[in-house]
Each structure stands twice: as C-alpha cells, then as structure tokens.
C-alpha cells in the first residue's frame, strides 16, 4: 500500500484530503446549445449568437457532438453511462452569465461513477474514484483590468460545452493531485474530447481540500480553491492551503467552508471578496429542454471507436515490446509520444526494429533533447523515420553507438537523415579485420611496457588498449572486432 504524505504540525501529523473538479472544454466545432463557433482568441463578442447572449425568446438546442464526447470520455474513465439524464438550470446572477442561469446537470448527470489509475513517481499505481461527469455551459469572460471604473464582458466563451469531471476525495497530496491531472489530461487527449490546454483555459481546475489528523476517519471542513490553472499551481495551492488550514486549526481556529481564489502572483489563496453571499442555485430541470435519452447502440457505436488508452497501451508495451514499466509509462504519457515510438519500432528493413534500442533512443536522446528545448513531440526536428534510420545504422554495425550520438546531434541541428550525415562525414564503421589488426599491432608495439603489465596480471589495462585503438581510428573501428582481435593477441 502506498503511504500518504504527512504534514508535520505542532500538535501532530496531518493528512490532506483532496478532491478535484476539472472543467474540460469539449472539442467540438459549435457550442453546446447554439451554432456559434468555439474557437479561441477571436474579436470580442464575435462568436456569439443571439442564444448565447440570452436575447428574449431564444432557446437552446443541443449539439450531438458534445453528447458523444461526454459519453466517449465516460467510457474512457470506465464509468457508468446514464442513458437518461436531465439538464437543469443553475440560477445565479453574474455579468458574464447572460441567461442568469447556467444550463448544467445536477441530479441526473450523463456519466456516473468511474475511475482513474494514477501513475505515481515511485512507479506505483493507485486507483482514484470519479464521482461523476456532466455537461454544462461555460460562462463568458469578465475583464476587470481594462478600465478603472468598469468591467468589460465578452461572451465568446458563453455557451461553449464543458465537461465537469468530479473526483472522489481520494487524493492525499500535491503529487497525487498532479498525477491525477496528468493522467486525466492524457486520457482526454487520447480520446480527443478535450485538448487539455490549461494555459488557454480549456482545462481548469477547482481544488477541494481539507485536512485531518492522521488516523482520523472523519473529513475536516473543506475549502474550495478556484482559478488554479496549471498543474504546478494546483500543487502550490494545495501546499499553501493545507498549511494554512493546519496552522489555523492549531492556533485554535476552525476552518470555515468557503470559496477561495488562488492568487498566482502572491502564491497564496484568499477568500473571494465578491462572494455570492447565499449559495442557493435553485436548480430545476430546464423546461426548454427535454430529458436527454439514448440507447445502448449509441454507446456501443462510440465504444467501437475508442482508441487504446494509456493504461492498456502501457500494458502492451511491457508485454509486447518487453519494455520496463517505467519506460512504457513515459512513452504512453502522451499519445503523440507513444505513436512516435511505435512508428520508430515498426519501420526498418524487417518492419520491426529492436524495441528496447528504439525506446532508449526515443526516451533518453530524443525526449531529453526536446525537453531541454521545451518542445513537444510534434515539434521534433527528427521524424520517426529518420530516428529509425539511425537505429538501423547502429543495428547493422554501420556506426557504433558512440558515433550514433554525434550523428543524432547533427540530425537535431540540421534535420538531415542519419545515413546522409554518416556518408558525408565518413563516419562509417571500420569492419575490415585486416585494417583493425594493423592498428592493434601499432598500438601494442608502442606500448610494450603496458603489454607486459597486462600479461603480468593487470587485466583492467584491456580497456586502455581498446581506447587507444578507437582513438587511432577516430572511433570508427567496430568495437566488437577490436575486442575480439585484441583478446586473441593478448590472451592467445
């Protein structure tokens, strides 16, 4: 069993209890209940229909793609799909909420209980419960910093479909919360239901957090921290908020259930000043919409098009390619990475390259280089074919592993094929035994004293001779041949 992180306090050890509510923007062309576009970054109020602006007499009509995406996501989360669900109105006033209510799902959501398997840094996995997933409308955007006395309202986001995905309070620390978000994002991206881009706000996170003494079974009073829009900030907000609650309790206070805002600049949470004093959303079924119903055939049709998801892919990489769990986990963390890897493996003269060599080159060399430059896999200057070409040159002994690293660096720089670089720079490995033997004789002749020491029992000098030979051949001599011939000359 995984042990949970513990926070030390003056009165003892504390445990964090965390649940996350993620708002994931559904990938669709048009909005949930209107025909205007969902694109990001257009001129203010240009992607707004009269429905989105809640003009009098306007009515919602649901977008089938959004229903499919919610079901698809539910299946990806191994969740119950509810063939009968209801849209409710959540009533509250805000400048960027044109209808004066948000169409959401309250008592009967489209997706029920599911689960997510976390991949923890220590290689362990842990299953976290999903409480529910429901569809709802996004609000518009209020800009408070454009004018000293006024708030500006842009309704381009108004009505865009969101999936609210609620976890059980199963998370026990910032690391687990981060692992949850990374895994959820990976699943959504695999499914193609949300692009998971937290910077652009297409995936947003509210954190529910409470603390309790280790060993307690009751939950403490929780606070909801809103506006946490990167995994790093989620971790920081949890650290800050847990510590704040512990200090407050240990100072004799009690935690008040409240909504708090994460202040990125100050690195702290604070109570929202403009709270909706009375949280009374007066949910009731939206009379403009009928209940949402579909049959098993609809669900099965979506199930049939589900891609292989990260957990299954990881399993396959381990059993089929013989990769380590760790390497498989790194590769499947993003669908594009896994696809890249498989493209490398499945090429070459036999249609199958050595999976472990490929994994090594993809993970250690390519990901390493990309991470250093802050690039994504889709920005890689080296294609899967090109990297495969390099692997081929290694496996057929055209170049040695050491030379390969130089070639790889050159490929990163220029985008040229490995074979072209090898040819242009004359890096082809020397496999002519006569030539290698000649070089070895020269080295041994020049180092008579060392040969004597070796023969006298100083075995580790063998490496020295190999090094000398390689140096003399500018690294191009086939190391295996060098070893063999040296061995026969010294030991024979």
């Amino acid at each position: 069993m995984t042990t949970h992180p513990v926070l030390k306090g003056d009165t003892g050890d504390w445990e964090m209890v965390i649940g996350l509510e993620v708002h994931a923007q559904v990938i669709s062309e048009a909005k949930l209940f209107s025909g205007s576009a969902t694109e990001f970054g257009s001129a203010p109020n240009s992607q707004v229909s009269l429905v989105d602006a809640a003009m009098p007499g306007m009515l919602p009509v649901i977008n089938e793609k959004c229903i499919e995406q919610a079901v698809r996501t539910g299946l990806g989360l191994k969740a119950e799909i509810n063939k009968f669900s209801v849209f409710d109105r959540k009533n509250y006033f805000y400048a960027d909420l044109p209808q004066g209510y948000q169409i959401s799902q309250y008592l009967q959501p489209i997706v029920g209980k599911g689960e997510i398997v976390l991949d923890l840094p220590d290689g362990e996995t842990r299953t976290v419960g999903i409480t529910r997933l429901h569809l709802e409308q996004d609000a518009g955007k209020s800009l408070h910093d454009q004018d000293p006395t006024r708030t500006f309202v842009d309704l381009n986001r108004s009505g865009v479909a969101l999936m609210e995905i609620v976890s059980e309070p199963d998370l026990r620390g910032p690391e687990e919360a981060a692992a949850y978000l990374r895994k959820l994002r990976a699943i959504l991206r695999y499914l193609g239901t949300c692009d998971g881009n937290m910077e652009e706000g297409s995936m947003r996170c509210d954190v529910n957090i409470s603390v309790r003494k280790v060993g307690d079974n009751e939950y403490g009073t929780r606070c909801e921290v809103k506006n946490v829009n990167s995994i790093r900030y989620v971790m920081a907000a949890i650290d800050y908020e847990a510590r704040r609650q512990i200090d407050h309790i240990e100072d004799g206070g009690t935690v008040v259930q409240e909504t708090r805002l994460w202040d990125t600049g100050r690195g702290e949470t604070r109570p929202m000043r403009d709270k909706e004093e009375a949280h009374d959303y007066r949910y009731f079924p939206d009379p403009d919409l009928l209940p949402l119903e579909f049959d098993d055939a609809f669900i099965d049709g979506i199930r049939a098009t589900l891609p292989e998801l990260p957990d299954e892919k990881k399993e396959r990489f381990v059993t089929h390619y013989g990769l380590s769990v760790y390497d498989a986990g790194v590769l499947v963390a993003e669908r594009a990475r896994a696809d890249f890897y498989e493209a490398v493996v499945s090429g070459g003269p036999n249609g199958r390259r050595d999976p472990k060599i490929c994994a090594n080159w993809v993970i250690t060399e390519l990901f390493g280089a990309l991470n250093k430059g802050g690039h994504d896999i889709d920005e890689s200057p080296i294609t899967a074919d090109q990297l495969g070409g390099l692997v081929d040159l290694i496996t057929d002994d055209t170049i040695s592993g050491r030379i390969a690293k130089d070639v790889f660096a050159e490929m990163l720089e220029t985008g040229h094929d490995a074979a072209a670089i090898v040819d242009a720079k004359g890096l082809r490995q020397v496999t002519d035994t006569g030539a290698i033997e000649g070089e070895i004789d020269t080295v041994l002749a020049a180092n008579q004293d060392k040969v004597a020491e070796y023969k006298g029992g100083k075995q580790k000098l063998f490496g020295f001779f190999v090094g000398q030979v390689m140096k003399a051949t500018q690294g191009k001599a086939n190391p295996k041949l060098v070893n063999e011939i040296l061995r026969s000359k010294l030991d024979g």
């Binding site: 669709s28 062309e29 048009a30 209107s34 025909g35 205007s36 576009a37 001129a43 203010p44 109020n45 240009s46 992607q47 707004v48 229909s49 009269l50 429905v51 602006a53 009509v61 649901i62 977008n63 089938e64 793609k65 959004c66 229903i67 209801v86 006033f93 400048a95 209020s142 800009l143 408070h144 454009q146 004018d147 000293p148 006395t149 006024r150 708030t151 500006f152 309202v153 842009d154 309704l155 805002l261 929202m272 000043r273 403009d274 004093e277 009375a278 009374d280 007066r282 079924p285 919409l289 009928l290 209940p291 949402l292 119903e293």
Partner: protein, 95 residues
Amino acid sequence: MSLDQATVARIAHLARIRVAPDEAEALQKDLQDILAFVEQLGEVNTDDVPPMTSVTPQALRWRTDKVTDGKKADQVLANAPEQASGFYAVPRVVE
C-alpha cells in the same frame, strides 16, 4: 406558512430586486397569501407519482455539430445600455 421579513429580504436579494421598506409589508402579505393558497397541494398523497418532466412525449432532439451562427457582434451589442470596444460594460466588479 409564515414568511417573515427576513425571508422576504433574502428572496428579494436572491432575485436581485431591491424592495423599498414601504413595499416590504404588502409584499410579505401577498406572498404569504399565495403560499397559503398553493399549500393545499399537501392534501394529495404523491409518494408514488413521478414528477412531470415534459408534456410532449418525445426525447430531446440533437443538432449536428456545425457552425451556423455568430459573427454578428453588431446585433449582439445593438441594444446594449453601455458598451466599449466591442464589449458590454458594467460597473466594475472586484473579485
């Protein structure tokens, strides 16, 4: 059902309607009368009765995922009491 002044004030605030002190009493009485009137529903046993979800016996109709609307900021803003640079403008909100 008695509806006290505090409740009237709470509802008024939830509904975002300012109620002047001289209106409050009459409103309280009217609301109380209406609630008293509707409370006769309590006479009926509805334990096994499902609530009506729709009078039309049909399922929700779906539309296809096509962009068919938008690009009409002029219409969207045509009736705005106050606007600036293509935005609606409201009194400043402090979060």
